[in-house]
Symmetry: D2
Subunit: 374 residues, 4 copies
């Protein structure tokens, strides 16, 4: 069962990331999409559980998509979801598909349609869409009109999807918009998906919730409705911190896997490694997910169901505790080795010299950049 | 337009309320449903905007419903929503309609069906349902099975509703359940309503959100979907504090009314006046709502739409600010007097001697009670 | 080292507790302080790590304190902290030591002084003080004047403390006060302690923080300042949920113990077992604390310090992960058995028949009570 | 009294700002410190209440400080606080004054000492220090050691302060650090100030609190302790959103001014105008502050104190409501005109052509930049 776990690592997770205050460049940062794929392949080599790489456009734009696809496959990977980018053009300052200006909306739709074609060319089976659209002040724009605009644009894109592609719609309560985000919560995302069609589903990013939200319950509802499209794994203590999955509350990650059982949707890592070593951070992230999944598989489902049926509150809860308390490092290590990976991927990475090699080969880091500058 | 505003005050808001630590009894506390109606009538006499009284069963249970209805109408009021109670029986310790035990669920459904009959007898047009159901620990119960049980029970009740009654379903993220509440957010409530039928709608309680939730946006979505059933007015700074509506952030209350425009759903106050004078608190609450609604009516909608269309962020926002900054006390006072109320309801209450009179007539306060005692 | 762990369980944790909505009585609820001590002794018998029982007055008031002390010692326990109660009298509706009325403040001080004498009689070495004082509305009272009143009252109590007693001051951001709590955060509590004297220290309750607060960092600061008086253990996902310690985020509990090292302050459990079996809940709580402490002891401190010194972000973090991932159930079980407890305390409790016996002997449960009733 | 209000506007608030996702450049963005001063002068010309400009170094670094000071004074302004920058150098990736590397700490101290000299040269009377220092993962660094390092560095800087300069220390719970920020809350900041000396005081930024924090209570405590150094005005709904002060909850801003009374500390605006017109946003911000302060001056302090003394909860609260409900636009307009400003500063700005002129004169906007890029 453990071998079923397949995680997509994000090409953008190998590049530099930061906050509005500063982005600290790292040595060995990949210079293009091909090198980002190389890093993803290294993570898969070590963990044997990261066989796909999610791409982001135009960040991963190349002249020859076929060459990129060939490179990915040559590295033993497949293409994961395609992620369009609708937040880094001046036109999108007041929104993309929710923008009051129809010209801007048209431009946004054109990019989305282009991504459908890119996905087709690459053999990807999903558009994974996060909208940064929203407003910063009460009254800034008409909330209902914005919602209608979003729906109209998404419907146009959905209609263009080939049958093998699905549309994953992500929600997020705030940032970069600080008053009202147009797809703010799972309910908002689900309503759009219901109107679009059966191949539209909701993507759950761990950091995209208000404080206290019960993520495993959201997962349960979406799964029951047949609309759980997948995850963006990360972790947070405060806002959308994009830390390593499982680093803040590993019991929450475990609880999500308990809810999923063995029916796993698309699982993608989406993190920002601002201060930690990037390839190691991604490797550790995959290990953390394997750890949580392995523990969830150890839950005695019959005993759990029996205790639940009897209203034995603690008896049921303790079934989860018992599984969570197990040390699954050796179990996971054996599974990884059996699948061609390393028993201890982080240690193997540190011993491999990979990080030193890319630092040497890829040259100097970029200067510090920032979103806030006078 | 201001005269259109009609608020339901809650019979339970005139009784004692507290926290788990203590409920401090107040002098003049009504001894039965009839006296609670008397207090509601006093609030309407002063404000001319609270013509309905929402009831709670079995708290407002009387031997003769016809007599209660006659009393309500004799006081110049009408019956508002009927609120069933599914959280104060030992059977409901692990839930009511979500309880793993079918016997308990049956009991809960029986109470709900009884409330439908009560509403018919009283001429009420709505069941207003809040479920305290939920779990306190991961694994305690199966989240999906609980959801199916809730739906099955609600469907049975919905089927029994006479055509003039609607079912309002409230959501709440936590308290009394502290791990997973079965109807935790507006999305959860809306999914149930979609499955039940057209006369099921979502009720928005201001205090039933996680920190940061944008209530006016939720209102916009529910209204656009035709599923905004109404409000429970109150305010909070922390959790479900049940303070006086508009006392923490009056601009938020105003923003909700800006979103509603002149299409007002059922508006009910639901507060817990733990330390403040109850009748005065209710009177002030109605005044705060009138104030917010009056300001919202002053928004220059054409100018707002024009600024929004141009992407004039601050020009649009300033339209709201201009209306909010107006002093509408005199305007509201005139409207109240024209409708038979008082220019300054709080001052009028203080001068009327009503509070002193009920303290005299209704006798001694009860002892302090508490939810936490060794 | 594991044997050093000594936890106080709270007498009030064996009685019934609930929310403002309902308190569901449990069979076997102890009828008096002596029976609460019996339950505490059972938890210590099973865990061998709960040798003290914290008391609450007037809840644990008895005619003969010497008899209570003798009973406690006969059960193999000692008296933990004494907890005064300043929130369940009608006089305290607007506060106790912060009340604008000097008569009420005098009454509060008198109770606190009485508790000092009680502690002396019982051999307790700490007053553990939580103040429910606060306001519900902006302007309700003068925040600075309230603070001065609190200080004046506490200074009077501090002056009366015998040298073997310390004053632990707890903070809490909200509930039962919903606008401003007079001792709302650790900074507020610390300022009072600084002004009182060296035997005043801050007590950290896990549930008494705003969402996102970093508890282990607060612990680090208070310890560095020599003002960490102890803990009230519990866990929460939302507000002050008072769930079983370690049940929401066991990694956070572990991180607090990593911060403490082997210098453990007073450790007390303070929970409300509203729906779960009480004696089992307390037993599981002690086990959870043992588990977290045992894992913290496994951290390789030298390797951690080395990685920190090198700025090896993930290398340092992974030292914590490695320890946390260990399965310490057997290790803890052996330590418990060596100290006279059970290898698996929860299983031993279930097999012992203790719960059935007290249900039989102590008779019928009380009726449901609630803080909110019309 | 209204004329006493003097606000510092921030030079960096006239430049471009954004989020990690994108910084959208605006036309007319000042090209250097001199032009930023010109914008500040325009805001003061319109509002007659913004006579100082806070500066940020090295962002406002110029070859000739005397020339900058002369320019500022020629524009009718004075120099506000000097703000050092310790977060945009690669060295500071793991912290500045808390960095484990003493070389980096030395560099940070050198910059701080340079800022003391800059302030002396400019006639500034305050260092306003925000530290971005913190960690992203449990175990990443030793929290207590970091605190000692911070104190050691700040003590060195404090010792170098000339008598006319004070040290304002800002706190912030998270961002850019996402696990533990080294000066996370007011208590942490106050402890540093206590250890540094009498001219160290805490600076309160409205957005730098966890959800639910009662800012006016923090203000009351710091003022009572003689350690309220000043404010960074802005507003937020979610995290540190840096929206226009008063735009989310104007009643909270009013409540802070009620707490302050007429003893105003240093008042500075610190906002990020990501999507709105910058000069207009700053002008509106000053107007919002004037509005809140004017309303606070209208509170009947005697009636308030009387109601508080009587324990008249609502009577006291209503004193605040009465003042807040007043329309002070005309009053503020008259005060501005009397002081040489505009009756309606925002309208006057829109009519003045200033924004169009600077767009013309200062040339093309910069390209979109972002903190997150692959």
């Amino acid at each position: 069962m453990l071998a079923r776990l397949e995680i997509e690592t994000p090409s953008w997770g190998y590049g530099d990331s930061g906050t509005r205050f500063a982005t600290f460049p790292q040595a060995g940062r990949p210079r293009n999409a091909f090198e980002r794929v190389d890093d993803a392949a290294e993570v898969h080599r070590l963990t044997a559980a990261a066989p796909a790489v999610a791409l982001h456009f135009p960040w991963d734009q190349v002249d020859d998509l076929a060459a990129l696809r060939a490179h990915i496959e040559a590295r033993g990977l497949r293409v994961g979801a395609v992620n369009p980018n609708l937040f880094q053009e001046l036109d999108y300052k007041l929104g993309s598909v929710a923008n009051p200006d129809p010209v801007v909306r048209g431009r946004a739709v054109a990019h989305l349609l282009e991504c459908v074609e890119i996905a087709t060319a690459l053999g990807s089976t999903a558009q994974s869409l996060w909208l940064a659209d929203g407003t910063n002040y009460a009254g800034q724009d008409d909330l209902r009109a914005r919602r209608e605009r979003v729906l109209e644009c998404l419907a146009e894109v959905y209609a263009a999807l080939p049958p093998e592609q699905e549309l994953l719609l992500e929600y997020k309560p705030f940032e970069p918009a600080f008053y009202a985000t147009d797809v703010a919560d799972w309910g908002s995302a689900l309503l759009f998906c219901q109107k679009l069609g059966e191949r539209a589903a909701v993507l759950v990013d761990f950091g995209h919730h208000l404080q206290g939200a019960n993520i495993e319950q959201i997962v349960a509802i979406l799964a029951a409705e047949g609309r759980l499209g997948g995850f963006h794994f990360n972790n947070r203590k405060y806002a959308d911190d994009d830390l390593i999955v499982g680093s803040v509350n590993p019991f929450e990650l475990f609880s999500v896997f308990v809810e999923l059982g063995t029916e796993l949707p698309r699982l993608t890592i989406d993190q920002a490694h601002n201060v930690e070593a990037k390839v190691e951070a991604m490797t550790l992230s995959v290990v953390n997910v394997q750890d949580a999944y392995a523990k969830a598989l150890l839950v005695d489902r019959d005993a759990l169901a029996a205790a639940q049926a009897e209203g034995d509150v603690l008896g049921a809860h303790e079934q989860l505790l018992e599984a969570f308390r197990c040390d699954v490092r050796e179990l996971c290590g054996r599974a990884r080795v059996a699948a061609g990976g390393a028993a201890d991927p982080v240690a193997a990475l540190r011993e491999s010299g990979y990080v030193e090699r890319i630092a040497r080969e890829r040259g100097e880091a970029a200067p510090v950049s920032a979103g806030w500058n006078a």
